[in-house]
Symmetry: C2
Subunit: 721 residues, 2 copies
């Protein structure tokens, strides 16, 4: 991390000045992520001066907060604060809980309502001196407050007259690692898993600590270590001991570990003949397994389960329901305070008439039957993390069940790590969608944060984009998606633009001449991906298996709903999946006002047009153009946006270190090439149905459709294994 | 690399001194490998002062030498030399070829005999000033000389009165990467492949340049990018373009790229029905493929081939010989100056009476029939990179054919990356072995360097231990094996102790109080692995498939020679593989004096005892102990050595940075645990045959044999895929 180079500077302080004339660029490899405590400029530095710090460190969690402030303020301000016990000068920073700090106790602050994780930051006077206090009910709240204070300093905000109260709106804020035990990361584009299982529990890579710091800084309080498509081996004593070691690293940072549980584990590692959730021996096995885990890890979070989906085992194998399966596991972890996150991403072996309908069909009947410590984890949309999907119809449809949001941070369908696509606007779009479940204003965010139906147990999951790549996420800009996910999990009502502003300032520069164009570029980047991959509500058109590049021609294979033609349904008449009442009637799964809006060609938003309707090629769009012309133009608009991002970025060359600038520039060049490929291949393909000319001025694809179809990428990263 | 923190120091030079009091340790994550240009102490620094540098930089190769000296001397001496055109002061360093540097040309040095890659370093006077010249016939020689000069400075040697002449004794000095195109590294214990194929050719990771620098610094001049078990995809235009991009990065550093060629590629990617090497269409296909490659990469090195071995396709599939196969490929690359490296590591589908005999049996008859640009690549021993093997009987047995040595740098059979085992003594042992092919003194080194039979085309291959781990090799000490391999490829007569001394000084410290114990520790470390895994000539006793941990009980499965029992043959009477005249008679493949020595129980060296003989449990050893007692004691001796390494290392805590010290300490603890496991499991197993008590004072294994046999490691790293 940054402090290392601080230390290097210390070691070299005695060297001749000539040495310091090294022409090499200041190294910026992205490892620091947004915890980049580089010196502030003089004006900010003076304004942010913190000469002294009164911070307890009698527990590891307290030590984490104190050390982070020493590291952060030392880096940002050029001077490490003096550690004090008494406030004897102006400008001290005082932190703690009433229990850990007599100074905090003496202030008699109103900490009620902050809960276990909340904190306040306030400008106060102590013993006649101006001071800032970070106070909370628990150590973890103090750590969160410390990170918030550092963020204020990093982003150049005033540190005087502070009066902030913060507590998270969502209780369970977890990353889901789709990491296999062999370190392959399913849908990972940042190298292999950071979990070095083979050398655990002995070798604790310092990276684990930096992972915990980064997550704690954005309020993430849990991590599911292993893929939802998991081996049962993860639950064997050998692996539980490795998990115990990781839990020990994460504990001071308020991060609980969770494990994905393979439903058939009682057979595979338990020696039983069945995994039937109503079988007493199976229930005993899971209870014993939970007891074994909690004996090793008293604060173990619980289980995440993918059951009866894409070939995974589950309760339906025994004629039981999802509720039967989830409740069995819930019963096992309940005595220890654990939870079960049961995924609603299901589809059966039989091909349904419309896969979009299946989760709703399978889960709604069980509303009210899940145990109190079960959350049902629902993807933002009903298909699978497409660049744009309408909100999942389950939100609002299971009022008696806490529904967790599952977002995908890794960009399985949005260009892998090389494409610059800031996902927070996509998350925001889903969270702000109005389910109308209890009338207007029944947003998905209110379902997720529990306020709509009064659930106390609430959660949000993000499928991690983290790997061993030096910059963690495979690209510098993908760190923003990790960051934004954490901020939105803490506060689902936060704004994606404000989050981007913070991230850019913390990660790159506080110079407004840099921040403004970069934030603008980010804010439009996801819409550009929608345009050049799947405009106007198209979806699931990518290459088979690895999901790399365009594949609108994908057909055949083991099941229809793994093809592209199933979803776009292009023919001589038009294009799109008719999910209106005249088609699959998936719209009927939404509340009536939503169903009416989506189900009517006249009122459906154009961005969902082809999601819900099969539309004639000559359908007249709001622009006055035909659908075909509009489609072609949208593809081109996406490519143009990438070109404009390149221009913007190239123009910022002097304002960011050369190392990161170069990588981003090369990746944008790759993105432009691939955006063009998506546009060209898609147009070449769909034109075989539309049989219409391209709009005037639109360049024809440079290759034949056969050429695009011939491209093969057997070693594309992140494929399922 | 180090220069980054130098740069950081520069950026921070203006910061208050208080900042510099950061308690963090100076970061040492191993990324710099031995090119660790940290400041020398004052005495050395003064002695090594280089105030000025006269170096041409009109080609990339020249620029590489100049930049390395600026970087290295700037780091080591605290002052970057001034770049000069004329020698106008004492102490200048002058480099170049007569063609690139008028100053060098003016010295009229005797460069004859240095060849294309050699160089001289000499203290001279130019225009009345004392100077040092690094001169060569070609740019690459100058770069090698620059690295040699830096090594002298790094290791604290005198830089005055220099008069060195160096040229490599071996022509082809290559790394073999067993890297798959999906980035899995077969037998890799340092993370996945550093080749980010997916983002090539666009994104050229700066790591590729650092890889080239590290290799050039030890004289490695070629790299085979892909696994010998390769997909034919590596030869498709898409991948050739990626290879072209890598070749461009490596070219200035004198490193040629080679590719492993799948023998059946004409079928798999060429659309032919056969890969018969005598088929004209097949020959045309390979010629066209070679032409295609050389059009992209004019200095492409050639092909490495694993054929008819472990299921790989090859000429025998068509009733043709290895020579037929090799010569076909040789014909394709010959017009372009390319070579073919044809591996002798073969064994047929049929199980032979003794796998150790097979390569000799298959290859010797073809001696003299290989094309001029073919090298036959032979592993150091006849089985497979075991901790100890007698030298391969092919060495000395194919006088008309250039035989390349193939060493394994990655520790497939020596504890993966976590065990500290310095392999240079093992390499040295093989190279110094006397084949007696042309009488006494016919060492393997002389076969490899071509002097025994007068071959000009010579080569050495090392199976790389490189991956994306921050320290490249999975552990700090495994970097020494990469380093030592390079030094021995350059000079097969170099000494492993001297190499270790250089490496320790460059990598850690020049303090004799550190260097001496660490070098001692390294020098005995491989013998310790032999002791705790496979003492007294035992071999191939590891876990099945992944090769992790002990598996002397491994039996059954697809073929006998993939089991342990095939090799140790323990029974109630004794243990060992009888390869004497009364057994498989593998000894007969050696020259008569060697065959006599190895074949006679009375004269066979004890370290090869059970390799060549089945020996009764009560056989009396040189120590006076019975074989059984000796075996048990050797196992314990290996464990004890690891314990002594831990003591040594713990005692050096203050003399090395905390970061590397900690990782090495943890890895040594893992090594002790695993050495003990090897010892205990092996004794528990062999005692079921010997039925003898342990020698007095030897602790019994703490677990039952059944326990050891029950351990499963399905996700151990590096398995074949």
């Amino acid at each position: 991390m940054w402090c290392r180079c601080i230390a290097a500077a210390a070691a070299l302080a005695m060297l001749p000045v000539a040495l310091l004339a090294s022409p090499s660029a200041l190294a910026e490899d992205g490892y620091d992520v947004w915890l980049r405590y580089r010196p502030l400029d003089q004006a900010h530095s003076a304004a942010a001066a913190v000469p002294a710090l009164a911070a307890p460190a009698s527990t590891p969690a307290q030590g984490a907060a104190r050390d982070e402030l020493l590291r952060g303020l030392g880096g940002l301000l050029g001077t490490r604060p003096a550690l004090i016990e008494k406030v004897d000068r102006d400008g001290a920073l005082v932190l703690g809980t009433p229990a850990s700090s007599p100074l905090v106790a003496g202030l008699e602050l109103d900490l009620a309502g902050l809960g276990e994780e909340g904190y306040l930051i306030r400008s106060v006077r102590i013993g006649g001196h101006a001071a800032t206090v970070i106070a909370a009910n628990q150590d973890i709240g103090v750590l969160y407050g410390a990170f918030h204070f550092l963020r204020l300093a990093q982003t150049g905000q005033s540190l005087s007259s502070l009066d902030l109260r913060e507590s998270p709106k969502v209780k369970i804020r977890v990353l889901n690692h789709w990491d296999n035990l062999d370190r392959h990361v399913e849908r990972g584009y940042a190298g292999e898993s950071i979990w070095d299982w083979h050398r655990l529990p002995d070798w604790l890579d310092p990276r684990y600590t930096d992972y915990a710091r980064a997550n704690a800084s954005i309020g993430i309080n849990g991590t599911v270590l292993n893929n939802v498509n998991t081996s049962a081996q993860a639950l064997t004593p050998m692996y539980l001991d490795k998990t115990r070691a990781l839990a020990g690293v994460f504990r001071p940072y308020g991060i609980k570990v969770y494990l994905s549980a393979r439903f058939s584990a009682p057979i595979e590692i338990g020696g039983l003949k069945t995994a039937d959730p109503l079988d007493p021996a199976v229930r005993r096995w899971w209870k014993a397994k939970a007891d074994e885990i909690y004996a090793l890890i008293p604060d173990f979070g619980g289980f995440l389960v993918k059951a009866n989906s894409e070939g995974q085992p589950g309760p339906q194998d025994y004629g039981r329901s999802h509720a039967d399966g989830a409740n069995m596991l819930a019963e096992a972890v309940a005595p220890h305070g654990g939870i079960v996150m049961w995924r609603a991403f299901v589809y059966s072996h039989e091909e349904p008439d419309d896969r979009a309908k299946q989760a709703y069909t399978e889960f709604v009947p069980y509303d009210g039957t899940f145990a109190d410590n079960v959350l049902v984890q629902v993807k933002n949309g009903a298909i699978d993390f497409q660049p744009r999907e309408p909100f999942h119809p389950l939100f609002g449809a299971m009022p008696k069940t806490p529904l967790m949001m599952e977002f995908q941070i890794t960009k399985e369908y949005l260009g892998f790590a090389t494409h610059l696509a800031y996902l927070a606007p996509m998350y925001e779009e889903a969270l702000r969608a109005d389910t109308h479940a209890r009338g207007p204003g029944s947003t998905v965010a209110k379902v997720v944060d529990g306020t709509l139906e009064g659930h106390a147990l609430t959660g949000m999951a993000g499928v991690a984009n983290i790997g061993v790549d030096r910059n963690w996420s495979g690209s510098h800009f993908d760190q923003a998606n990790w960051y934004a996910y954490g901020r939105l999990a803490w506060d689902p009502d936060a704004g994606s633009r404000e989050i981007a502003q913070d991230w850019v300032r913390m990660t790159f520069s506080t110079d407004p001449a840099f921040v403004a164009p970069v934030v603008d570029m980010m804010m439009g980047s996801r819409e550009a991906v929608v345009d050049y991959m799947t405009p106007l509500g198209l979806h699931h058109l990518m290459g088979r298996g690895h999901h790399y590049g365009p594949g609108p021609w994908v057909a055949g294979g083991p099941r229809a709903d793994w093809t592209s033609v199933y979803y776009h349904r292009a023919d001589r008449n038009g294009i799109g999946f008719d999910r209106s009442a005249g088609g699959s009637d998936a719209v009927a799964q939404y509340a009536a006002p939503v169903a009416r809006q989506f189900g009517d060609l006249a009122t459906v938003p154009e961005e969902f047009l082809l999601w819900f309707h099969h539309v004639p090629w000559d359908h007249r769009m709001a622009s006055g153009r035909t659908l075909w012309d509009e489609l072609v133009l949208r593809y081109g608009r996406g490519v143009d946006y990438v070109k404009s991002m390149r221009r913007t970025w190239d123009g910022l060359a002097g304002q960011v270190d050369a190392e990161r600038h170069r990588q981003v520039a090369v990746f944008l060049a790759i993105q432009e090439k691939e955006a063009q490929w998506w546009r060209d291949a898609s147009i070449a393909y769909f034109q075989t149905f539309s049989k219409r000319p391209l709009p005037k001025g639109e360049a024809p694809p440079p290759h034949t459709l056969e050429y695009y179809e011939s491209l093969q990428f057997p070693f594309a990263p992140g494929d399922g294994k």
